[in-house]
Every structure is written in structure tokens, then in C-alpha cells.
Amino acid sequence: MEGELRGGGRRAAGPLGGAAGTRRPARSGRHRRPGRRGDLFYVLGLVVLVPLTVVLEYTLEMRTVRPPMHEAVSVEQGAKVTYAGAVWRLLGARPGEPREDARVPRDAVVYYVGISITPRDRAASRRIESCQVRVVDDEGRTWTSAPFGVPDFERFGNPPTGCYATGEGFSREPIEPGRTQAMVTAFLVPEEAVQALRVQVLVDGAEPRYLEFRPRAGG
């Protein structure tokens, strides 16, 4: 023990006195700073990893975002078109007769739209079941289905009002694949808008395409 203390004393007795005792040992070759080659790896790592992170983040983000419906497939009344795995045809679109027994506002009409749908397979039947039908005019004004009680569907024999078939009672089920099903829906629109109306059909998962039927004058 004493020898060890003396040993320390011998280091302190060097030519530089006490300062010599605090001098750090010389660095071995393993602890040298990385050379240019090492720096190059760091830079290359950054150059590769940063864009990779950006691309990965963008890709993951885009998977959760659906593109908007912005690609209209224009169809004339009576013509058939395939969309979302089904064949569609506009049967007619026109305003109904004035009704005394419903609350239809002044200067407004109930606009009826009939469409025939033939899904190709079971997947398409299920896919189109929740389709959205709406009407738009040249100003971009958009109308969705008329409030309950305003349209009179009895005059059409109470057909389905959406892209589905009616089962027993009030139940709804997918249209049988290969079977052509007619649907009728209605909109409450201002009378002045009727001449410019177009009928749009949108199906989830078919983005960015949607159907746009151009009704013939007089429906």
C-alpha cells in the first residue's frame, strides 16, 4: 500500500512537477477520429435515410387519404356504362306533378330520377349498395335526396330508392349479380334549376371516377 503511494509520488516528481501527474495518456490508434471515409458514410447515410423517411411518411399518409371524386364519366340518357363493377343506365329524370298533399315549397318541384343497375358479381353488388345519387346544376349547386314525405314513390310502385334490392318487409339487400334492378329517387329543387340538372352517381372505392348522366329535355 505504501509502495503504491510512493509510486504516485514518483510520478509527481517529474520534470514538470504537479502538472505531469494530470497529463492524459496518449490516445491509442483505436480512439482516433474517423477519417474522411468515416465522414463519407455519415453523409451517405443522411442522404439516403432522410429522403427515405420522407417517402415512407408520405406513402403511409396517402394510404389513409382517398382521392377526391374529380373525374366525371359523362353518359347520355339511355346509354349504358360500366362503373364500379356494375352496368348503369339512366331511365329518366323529370319533375313530378304538383302535389297538394305534401309540403312542397313555393317555386320548388320534386325531381324524380330513375336508374337501372346490373351488378356483374357479388363483390360489385355489395360495393354499390351504399351508392350516392345526387343532382347538380351548372352553378355547382348540389341537391341530395328529398326529405321524407315530399316525394310520392307510390306512383312508381314503391321501387327501391337506392342501389339495393328490397327484401321481405322493409329489409334491404344487395342486388343479385347479373340481375337488372331499377331504382327511383327524388330531389327537392328550385323550379328554375330543373333545365340544367345533371345526375351524378358516386360509389365509395371507385375514386376518382363518378358517373354523370345528362338527362334528355323533358325526361
Partner: protein
């Protein structure tokens, strides 16, 4: 000297970052609603919808006609402010559930949930483009918040409606008008369901 210079540059950079951060417009400035101002009786076109506020009434008791009977809604410490208006949607079916009455001190009141939704012009029912809807917007507020109150009608639901059109309507309730309205508040008001205008 070099060390001092380094610290100085660092501080300047921090200051620059802080300043740049403050200059970035907040969500309200970037995505807030686009307002149009007007007053009672005026037909206001916000670019997204038009609205005409026709009347403002105040009561302590409301009567709500039902299918079989009429019921009363009473407020103890506050008053009912009933705004009658006609609203015409511009583009597409929308709701207006963010509509509020803003008091002079900035306190906001949403339309009362105690009132049935078929009565409230701005809740529940959707407005279809080009088809006027006439109805009432009913608020329950403390009487001392009536003077100077402003109606703000904005399209969209709570939490939505970026860059939504908004009408800011001066109801013309100064101190004396507020006193007059409160003096007549003991007369019950009958609510009517929203109808086509």
C-alpha cells in the same frame, strides 16, 4: 472573442426563429370562416348562403306546440332570445350548428338544446340550395348579456367548416332597446317549427 461572437449569433438565430414562428398565421387566420357583416332586416349574401334576420324577441316563457298538447319552457335566471330569420343555402345541403349569439364581452351562446330541433332553424334540419327556410333560432342567456349581442351564423358543424361563410349580424340591441325587450319579457312566446320561406 470568438466564443462571444458564437453566443451572439446563436441568440440572434433563436430570436429569428421565434420571430418567424410568430409570423406564421395561426389556424384561425388560415382556416377561419370568411365573414360578411350586416344588420337586422338586411338581406345578407355571404357568398355561401343568404340570410335575412327579421325579428328579435325576448321572453321568460316559451310555448312549444306538440301533436297532442302544448308545453312550456321556462328560464329562471336567464331570458330566451328568439331570432326569426330566413336562410337560403347557396351550394349544397348544409347544417349551421355553430351559429351563436355573442355578447358584448365576447361570451358565446350556442342555440339552446332545450328547444326541439324542428323549431331551431340552425340545428337538425339541413338547408337545400335555392329553397328558403324560415324559422327561429332560440338562445338562453343571462339578461345582462343582451345589450350589444351579435348573431353569428356560420355554415358547418362544430369542429368543421374550414373557410366557411359566416354572417355577422348586428341585432341593434343597445342599452335602451335591451331594457324595452326585457320589460316585455313576461309575455310568453309561441315557437313555430321551421318551414319553407
Amino acid at each position: 472573442m470568438r466564443r462571444l461572437l458564437g453566443i451572439l449569433i446563436g441568440l440572434l438565430m433563436l430570436l429569428a426563429i421565434g420571430t418567424a414562428h410568430r409570423l406564421v398565421p395561426d389556424d384561425e387566420r388560415r382556416m377561419g370562416s370568411i365573414t360578411t357583416s350586416g344588420r337586422l332586416g338586411e338581406r345578407m349574401d355571404t357568398g355561401g348562403f343568404t340570410i335575412t334576420v327579421e325579428q328579435v324577441e325576448v321572453a321568460r316563457r316559451l310555448t312549444v306546440p306538440g301533436l297532442t298538447s302544448t308545453r312550456s319552457l321556462v328560464t329562471e335566471d336567464g331570458v330566451w332570445v328568439v331570432v326569426t330569420a330566413t336562410l337560403v343555402e347557396g351550394w349544397e345541403a348544409s347544417s349551421y350548428t355553430r351559429t351563436r349569439l355573442v355578447a358584448r364581452d365576447g361570451t358565446s351562446y350556442l342555440a339552446s338544446a332545450r328547444v326541439p330541433s324542428d323549431v331551431q332553424l340552425t340545428s337538425g334540419l339541413l338547408a337545400e340550395p335555392g329553397i328558403p327556410r324560415r324559422g327561429m333560432v332560440v338562445f338562453e342567456i343571462p339578461p345582462d348579456r343582451l345589450a350589444g349581442a351579435v348573431l353569428r351564423v356560420v355554415r358547418g358543424d362544430v369542429g368543421g367548416g374550414r373557410l366557411a361563410p359566416e354572417a355577422v349580424i348586428e341585432l341593434g340591441i343597445d342599452e335602451s332597446a335591451a331594457r324595452r325587450l326585457l320589460d316585455r319579457a313576461s309575455t310568453p312566446l309561441e315557437l313555430r317549427p321551421v318551414d319553407y320561406g
